[in-house]
Amino acid sequence: MKLNELEKNAKKEIEQSVCVDELEKVRIRYLGRKCELTRILHSIGDLPMEERPKFGRVVNKLKNELEGLIEKKKRALEKSKTLPWADLSLPGRRPFIGNLHPLTILYQEIINVFIEMGFSIVFGPEIETEYYNFTALNTPPDHPARDMQDTFYLKDGRLLRTQTSPVQIRTLEKHAPPLRIISPGRCYRVDTFDPLHSPAFMQIEGLWVDRDVSMADLFGTLKIFTRKIFGEETIIEFLPSYFPFTEPSADLWIQCPFCRGIGCTVCKKKGRIETLGCGMVHPNILKNMGYPEFTGFAFGIGLERIAMIKYNINDMRLFYQNDLKFLRQFNESKL
């Protein structure tokens, strides 16, 4: 058989193959060990010396070309191979996968923002003494917060911390400033369990003590925090406020995310929502700790409050009722 005739036949047969098996037969016929092409190649000895290299090249080129065509056809045939019909609308087999609690998801997010800013994370006990929870934090002896109406006391005279600030005192006892810490954890106050209150809640407090830390630094730190948590475009404002452990004190307000500042029922037509309290550490506290030459700022973030604002939740009790219909809605990647 002539070479170009073989080429024409082979290509035609490849083209006309309707299944993988048939194509395999074609391959064996033309490219197999005992095939036409091999035979032709072997006949190279009959040619004059000078024509042999050229002939060899031509045959090899054809061989490669046919291999390529067969491979291509094979892929095409495989693709069009049909499987029995299956009802693909049936539901898939799903593994059971749960969720972290929304407060944990938000907790991680907040902690990470402060870790990036170089804060340490420090824990402390939930059962505290009056000294760490009040006295060391400049709370006057007759301050209402110390009442049994506001603070849970234990029968042995200790109490459940009403804020995580005692951790700040404990840390300052162990480490001299400068320092930057975040103290997260559960706190307790005698509050009814209602849409806006809970007797136990999560708090994340921050403290930065250094030489000449200023209010400008406080505002800068919290600006970064709010933008990372509520989005880069979040408009924030600091308004004067009062806390016994800071002076000057401020409240951080963010533009109401529900009405974008126009005023709605959520923000009581203010266009902004009170988000957290902060201020410059009261000099009495630093003086008592033995660091009168330092200044510092502190802030306290109520995790439930931030979550309520961020996810538009109107009832704090939902965080503590563990209803799967609630918990299922908080996929980490969605938030």
């Binding site: 994370i121 234990l154 970064i224 308004l239 406020s241 410059m280 209803d323 799967l324």
Partner: protein, 666 residues
């Protein structure tokens, strides 16, 4: 407190619309909770921070607005008590204060020939707008003065009290019927105003019914006093009586305002009730207040604010706030007026400057200064938490109070609350399980078929203090679907989860043993041991406490993590394929699988993976017998095992198993 716009404009010119005024007040730290705009007025509901009692009045607010908007006050309360008045023996009165601590000053004036009638509209309308019900001209005037200048007054019917007023502590058990008609029992922590017989008012809180002004009153005693703020607060809280008066006294009303408030009321009583001052005005402490000075430094305050506020600007703000500068500019002292006793230190002055330049004029900065020793506590807790959702669990959170019966069941010494919120939940949780059990039940009741929740949190006991725990509960059934029948959750679902958790936490050395924890059902529970220490238990929870089948686990988190291998060591991959052999044996029904699995493991020389792929019970196996089918995967790190090597291992296995009473199933 509530205050209306028009009353404020009587004190200071306001160029701002109510809405803008509200915004300005917010920016001064005077939070406007609600703004109610009416046809020709507007009512502000304000949340006044506890350090600013001076702002609980029209006068105080006007002062603040005037300072911020650079205006002068249009009105000044500066009435003098008329000097001449008829000396009349008929109107004798003596005042004694037992303790200056309890009552720093008491001014009593007697007003005669009053005509009781409704108040003129100017008074009654303003009272109503500010949330106080109009009663009659006398009572209304005391309230009007309270609202306008911030100092509470009280009026007694002169003819219904003895001719002696004693400010003293109540005797334990002494009672008084208040203006609201309620009988209140008093203690020696309450200050009372008494005549020579009995209490006629609870000082700073509420008057007594008998001594109060009525339609028939002709002569009154007007009280303007200063009572110990802490005691007023205790009394008000204890008696659950919060009044306009107690609200101001407990926040330290302005002691410098007593005389003015009296004089103003006397003026209004003359004007609107035709009352005449008779007898001598009694004042127990005519000059009680010593002005306070606070040291100041321009430079330090600027450093604290992080803003360069010019000296002239600071001076201007101080001037507007009636803060007088004394001494030279290097070491100035600031004289604080009586109505601003919240200002005690330089930082308080810094806040005043910050408020008046506006916090939004302090440019936010962020800069690292010193290095910070990084410690990141709680990392492990998060790491454990994150594994649980992949095992099918939702994270729960609970309020950590439980019933004390739980501690009894556990035989633990609980930490008791002195003032529990819920009387039945009076201890701090000694286990995380009770709340999780409740949550499981609630979810099952609301129609969930399979509920799996976990919690990480602290438990509290007298013996061990605070311990971080992880607990999980699992209940219900795997619901039916098109590829699988429904089946109830059982012990092995939980055991698989526990083992996976241990694997994910890199805990390799552990043991299971019998469970003696009374929260669990002994026959369906195991305890986990790491290094011979008990970490906790898992299994079916005791029916006595649950009533439904709930599987639970509770581990001490720190102890659990102590078993975790911190460093991961790569063990190589096996390039040579394993050889699989299935082996069915018949054993006594009561014998544990694990003995036989361990026997196989011991018998095999090569590396082996053993899976239990079937358990079979049937008459063909024999009575009280069961058949176990193991799948063995034998492999070698460096070669493919030969048939001979496999056979040798298998022979060893069979020998060893038969020693344990097992025989091959035919």
């Amino acid at each position: 407190m509530r205050v209306n716009y028009n009353w404020l404009t009587e004190w200071v010119d306001i160029d701002l619309e109510p809405y803008d005024l509200a915004d300005m007040l917010d920016h001064l730290g005077i939070e406007v909770e609600e703004l109610d705009i009416t046809a020709n007025d507007a009512i502000f509901t304000l949340e006044i921070t506890p350090n600013r009692p001076d702002l609980i009045s029209v006068q105080g607010l006007a002062r603040e607005i005037a300072a911020k908007t650079d205006k002068k006050l249009k009105k000044v309360i500066d009435y003098q008590i008329p000097e001449e008045h008829a000396q009349n023996k008929e109107f004798a009165l003596a005042v004694t204060t037992e303790s200056k601590e309890d009552c720093a000053r008491y001014i009593a004036s007697i007003i005669h020939e009053i005509e009781i009638r409704p108040s003129p509209p100017i008074i009654s309308e303003r009272l109503e707008k500010c949330g106080i019900r109009s009663i009659n001209n006398i009572i209304d005037i005391t309230n009007y003065v309270l609202l306008e200048v911030g100092h509470p007054l009280h009026a007694f019917d002169y003819n219904k009290i003895g001719k002696e007023i004693i400010v003293r502590r109540a005797k334990n058990g002494e009672t008084i019927k208040t203006l609201e008609g309620e009988e209140k029992e008093l203690t020696n922590l309450d200050i009372v105003i008494a005549d020579n017989k009995k209490p006629i008012a609870i000082a700073g809180v509420i008057g007594g019914e008998e001594s109060g002004v009525s339609e028939t009153s002709r002569t009154i005693v007007l009280e303007s006093a200063y009572f110990n703020p802490t005691l007023v607060r205790y009394t008000s809280k204890r008696l659950k009586l919060s009044t306009e008066s107690s609200y101001r006294f407990e926040r330290k009303a302005d002691i410098g305002m007593l005389k003015n408030a009296s004089a103003y009321a006397i003026y209004l009583l003359k004007e609107y009730a035709n009352g005449k001052l008779v007898g001598k005005v009694i004042d127990t402490n005519p000059s009680p207040y010593i002005h306070k000075e606070v040291s100041f430094s321009y430079e330090k305050v600027n450093r604290l604010l992080g803003k360069d506020v010019k000296k002239e600007e600071v001076d201007r703000i101080f001037n507007k706030l009636s803060l007088q500068k004394r001494g030279n500019d290097n070491h100035p002292k600031i004289l604080i007026p009586s109505f601003r006793r919240d200002i005690e230190i330089m930082e308080d002055l810094a806040e005043e400057i910050g408020r008046f330049i506006g916090y939004d004029n302090i440019e936010a900065t962020f800069g690292y200064r010193s290095e910070n020793p990084i410690s990141l506590e709680g990392k492990e807790i998060l790491a454990v938490k994150k594994i649980m959702p992949s095992l099918g669990f939702y994270e729960a959170m609970n309020i950590p109070f439980i019933e004390c019966s739980w501690a009894e069941i556990q035989d633990k010494n609980p930490i008791e609350l002195k003032n529990p919120l819920w009387s039945d939940k009076s201890i701090l949780r000694t286990t995380l399980l009770p709340s999780l059990i409740s949550s499981i039940k609630r979810n099952l009741n609301s129609g969930e078929e399979r509920v799996a929740i976990f919690e990480v949190g602290r438990i509290f006991t007298l013996d061990d203090g605070e311990e971080e725990m992880i607990a999980a509960t699992l209940a219900g059934e795997i619901p039916p679907n098109w590829y699988e029948e429904k089946h109830p959750i059982d012990f092995y679902d939980l055991k698989g989860i526990v083992v996976t958790l241990l694997e994910k936490l890199n805990i390799q050395e552990y043991k299971f043993s019998g469970c003696k924890d009374s929260l669990f059902k002994e026959e369906r529970a195991l305890s986990l041991l790491i290094n011979t220490e008990t970490i906790g238990c898992f299994g079916l929870l005791s029916q006595d406490v649950c009533k439904v089948d709930i599987y639970g686990v509770e581990f001490n988190l720190q102890k659990l993590l102590s078993g975790s291998t911190k460093r991961i060591k790569f063990g190589g991959t096996y390039r040579y394929p394993p050889v699989k052999r299935d082996l069915s044996i018949v054993i006594d029904e009561g014998k544990p699988y694990e003995d036989f699995k361990n026997a196989i493991k011991d018998a095999v020389v090569n590396d082996v993976q053993i899976e239990l792929i079937d358990i079979y019970k049937n008459s063909s196996v024999g009575k009280n017998k069961k058949s176990l089918t193991f799948r063995l995967e034998l492999y070698h790190p460096e070669k493919t095992l030969t048939d001979e090597e496999i056979e040798e291992d298998m022979e060893n296995v069979i020998k060893k198993l038969s020693k344990l009473g097992a025989h091959l199933r035919k």
